[in-house]
């Protein structure tokens, strides 16, 4: 048994300093996406909502307009599966966020603005 004690000591400390210090390995963790509003036409947003297996993406009801409006993103439902990024890579990137805990459920539902009809950035979906 003394041998195990010595082995343990010899191995040294591997414990993270988080939360006092940032944890380097966190940058390799999968996380929820971030969306580029400039590339989010209503059509693209609709495709993203269809690709999501968790129901985390949903088109918000637009107030009578044909364009504009919002994509509702429920971070709580997201499994970081990557299907939305595969569906429209120009519109989706990684958020790099992993500290996602929330004290109210509604705080996890985000409104992502869609590209409006008059938003002429010269980009195609």
């Amino acid at each position: 048994m003394t041998l195990w004690f010595v082995r343990g000591l010899r191995r040294g400390v591997v414990t993270t300093r988080y939360p006092a210090r940032p944890e380097e390995s966190a940058r390799f963790l999968p996380g929820p996406p971030a969306f580029r509003p400039g590339a989010l036409t209503r059509e693209t947003a609709g495709r993203l909502a269809g690709a999501c297996p968790s129901g985390a993406l949903r088109l918000a009801e637009s107030e009578g307009q044909a364009d504009g409006g919002a994509l509702l993103f429920d971070v709580g439902r997201c499994t970081a599966c990557g299907r939305c990024a595969a569906e429209a890579p120009q519109a989706v990137t990684s958020s790099g966020a992993f500290e996602l805990a929330a004290t109210s459920r509604s705080v996890l539902i985000k409104e992502i603005p869609l590209r409006g009809r008059n938003d002429d950035t010269g980009r195609t979906a």
Binding site: V13, V14, T15, T16, Y18, P19, P22, E23, A26, L29, G31, P32, P33, A34, F35, R36, P37, G38, A39, S54, G55, A56, F73, D74, V75, G76, R77, C78, T79, A80, C81, T93, S94, S95, G96, A97, F98, E99, L100, A101, A102, T103, R105, V107, L108, K110, I112, P113, R123
Partner: protein, 164 residues
């Protein structure tokens, strides 16, 4: 007691000592593995004053995984009721937050359909780091960050950094 008062009471009374009971309402077993790793050398929750306890009577916080399978409801309620107050419920993972199973004959689909949840931790699974952050938020020692994250990126950003 309002949520704010509860948090202040907990932070004051329990200081840096929190006992955690885990509850599996139907997970795929991966969230449990991440939770077990909280006690492992890389994360060591003990250094933060967090401890696991098998006895609901000793527990301050209930860490719940899974989509709340209906057949499990009685066991879930009994475990929650066996904990003396004040107590905190933390829902862990996409299953518990409604991202995998819907409200249907087999599952409620979310933990908060049955238990009063105080903190929700997204992820599939949430990593031990995310769990440590969530536990810190639950006792008021760490800041909740997701409230201020927009999950949008400028067109030429490779990624936006979550506040770290």
């Amino acid at each position: 007691m309002t949520p704010e008062e509860l948090r202040e009471t907990i932070a004051r009374q329990f200081g840096r000592s929190l006992h955690i009971r885990t509850l599996d309402t139907g997970s795929c077993a991966v969230c449990e593995q991440e939770i077990r790793l909280l006690a492992a050398p890389h994360y060591d929750l003990h250094r933060l004053g967090f401890f696991f306890t098998p006895a609901p009577r000793h527990a301050d916080l209930l860490l719940v995984t899974g989509p709340m399978i209906r057949a499990f409801e009685v066991a879930a309620r009994k475990t929650y009721d066996a904990m003396p107050g004040p107590k905190i419920v933390v829902a862990v993972g996409a299953c518990a937050l409604g991202g995998v199973y819907p409200d249907d004959p087999f599952t409620y689909g979310t933990v908060d359909a049955v238990l009063p949840v105080d903190v929700w931790i997204p992820g599939c699974p949430p990593s031990p780091l995310a769990l440590l952050h969530g536990l810190g938020v639950a006792v008021g020692r760490l800041t909740e960050k997701v409230r201020d994250l927009p999950f949008t990126a400028e067109d030429d950003d490779e990624r936006i950094r979550g506040a770290r």
